[in-house]
Amino acid sequence: MIRGSRNTTDSDVSGRSVFSLGCLSNAGSSTLRLLAIACLFLFFAAAPRYAAAADSLADTSATWPTWQQWKRVLSLQDYNTRVVLLGVSVLGAGAGLVGSFTLLRKRALMGDALSHASLPGIAMAFIIASALGRDGKSLGYLLTGATVSGLLGVAAILWIRNKTRLKEDAALGIVLSVFFGAGIALLGIVQQMQYSSAAGLESFIYGKTASMGSNDAKLIIVASAIAIVVCLGLFKELKILCFDEAFAGSRGFPIVWLDIVLMSMVVLITIVGLQAVGLILMIALMVIPAAAARFWTHELWRMSVYSVVIGTVGCVLGAVLSAVFPNLPSGAMIVLVCSFFFFLSMMFGTARGVVIRTYRRRRLNRRIARQHLLRAMYEHLEPNTIGAGVKSSRFESKAAVTVSELLPMRSWGWGRLLPTIRAAQEDELLRFTDDNVFFTRSGFVEAARLTRQHRLWEMYLIAYADVAPGLVDRGADDIEHVLGPEIVDQLEDLLEEQKMTVEIPESPHGIGVPESAGPQPGGSTS
């Protein structure tokens, strides 16, 4: 019914349309299959001997391609492959660069609304062009329609936001779904009309790089080049816009116009990317590379470069996958490859990755626990030995603290105290024999340093921040673990001005008092 027998102009297109419709009809199962294959590929791509395994999981409709097919794509033998790969790589670069700015401007979802809202425009453009006796599938008409209705969608969002009390997210959700729904309905109407050559419009939904011709690639290259030139030329202006709109305005930068320029870049990239990535997933190409890049750096220009690289590589790999597995829509493959990079970045990113953050937090927690232990021991020994003038060389080896004495000093249980003691023993700060804990020489020096630091900070808080002596332990406890040596120096200077002693001062509060009163700071910090 859909494959038009009258379609003589472009037999290639009708073949494609059968494909994309096939994907539509069993979207549910194909999504699962697609995920399975993507995972398999990403892990076993280098080892062809796993091909059999992939074969058995994916049923016959998506068989593992032969080496010949791989070679054909990867060696860029076909002119078409070269065109497609060039097109998507430039698209990925443009989307990565524009995306890093929209992400920071917190306008990422605008791109999503824009691409979804373009669907009715595509259908309308086809209907109108066909009714006028033109070629409805000419990319020029379709993209013009997409742009117009996409912009209408964005305008509708802004209008709803400004005229009602609805928030932007609600306006976005409404407009996005209404436009997309209208688009789907219009596509249905198109298919029932006599212009049956409409089959192929669906590739705009899921993306189909294979349909990219050299003219399409040229369009993408021109659009991406414009976007890249504009973003680089206005790099510092966009930077100040994204960081501090009010300050940019006070310096005379036209915020509204800069926003319009940025949104125009989004429109440009989104519209030319529709065909390759599809309008549902186009947003991913704008957001994912930029978000992934953010995990690797704290500098905007580096983030932009990484985002461009991730976008480019993701697009190329996705298009290659889509080319060798002809059942898999290119949009989905591109997004999956980009998401894979995103996942890697999120976990292992050197600036903000999960692994490095967890590691840093663990290390900090261990250090805090150790400092608590050393100070608790020092304070426990203080009244009887250190304060009583016993020679330090004696109590280093003789004065012991039992674990049961340490336990009530902080909110720690055996489960946390014992590993801390053992770790400190390994670093030769303590000796631990049958429930008795002794300082080593270096351990004692460290404990004295920590106690001094803690009390300096407490006195600073009392002297300068008007903290009551009874409450000061808590505030000091939270911050002392992060005091650097230069801050300790400053504290000493300050307190020296105040003629306060800078030996190990006495605790400004009774040691026992804050420990028993109220919740324990140790519990909250570690």
């Binding site: 510092k236 100040i240 009010a246 006070s250 310096r251 930068f253």
Partner: protein, 282 residues
Amino acid sequence: MNKQTSSQLGDALASSESTSSAPGLSTDPLCPLSVYDLTVAYHRKPVIWDVGFDLPAGQLIGVVGPNGAGKSTLLKAIMDLIPRASGRVRVFGDTYAHNRKRVGYVPQRESVDWQFPVSALDVVTMGLYDDIGWFFPVRKKHRARALEALDRVGIADLANRQISQLSGGQQQRTFLARALVQDADLYLMDEPFAAVDAATERAIVEILRDLKKREKTAVVIHHDLQTVPEYFDHVILLNMRVVSHGPVSETFTSENLQKTYGGRLTLLDEVTEAMRRREQAL
């Protein structure tokens, strides 16, 4: 003489404001900031009403008032960042747009996302972006100037640190340095003392006094009434309207503060409420 009058008239016409000469609006180029009849409304709710004052040059001026009194709105309206319902502003005798380079702005610290991928030096350099000009990149000499400004606020050693890794006080100093780097003559600061540590507060006060020594003017929104007499020479008490303004010794009285901060049923509130009811009835 005649020519001068006509050029003034032309100016007024050109700036599409009312042609009658404005009483109380100072076009004296020595007056750092003159505001006349300024009203700003969000939707239908007026935020500031008929605000007017002339500020003396070379003074530290505190703007004080309860939450929602329109203090930030006032600064933003002065800089044309938000549309005004009425009123005019003169900065050194001319429009803000003309004398923009002589004004340094320190926005509220909470107004930006401190997770943004830039370093402290980058942020300070932003104060020079309009000097650098469109399309031109930041160059070494600009970074050197930015570093100098960071040194003035005492955190030059943190120049390359990402801004999320700065403490609140250091972030505030960064913002201050961004305004200082422009070497402006009038500074508009939105709550620079909000939630900063004692050391930063002292550092900011030092900077303000240094500015005064160099005959600059600073308008500072301030929330801590106790320190007003110590920090400022001149004070504007604001609660939608200017309740009072003038030298601290004369203006900062308990009576005026009562008028500014007094309970919900001040005369002003009653009038506002009556106006609102009338507006709704219409």
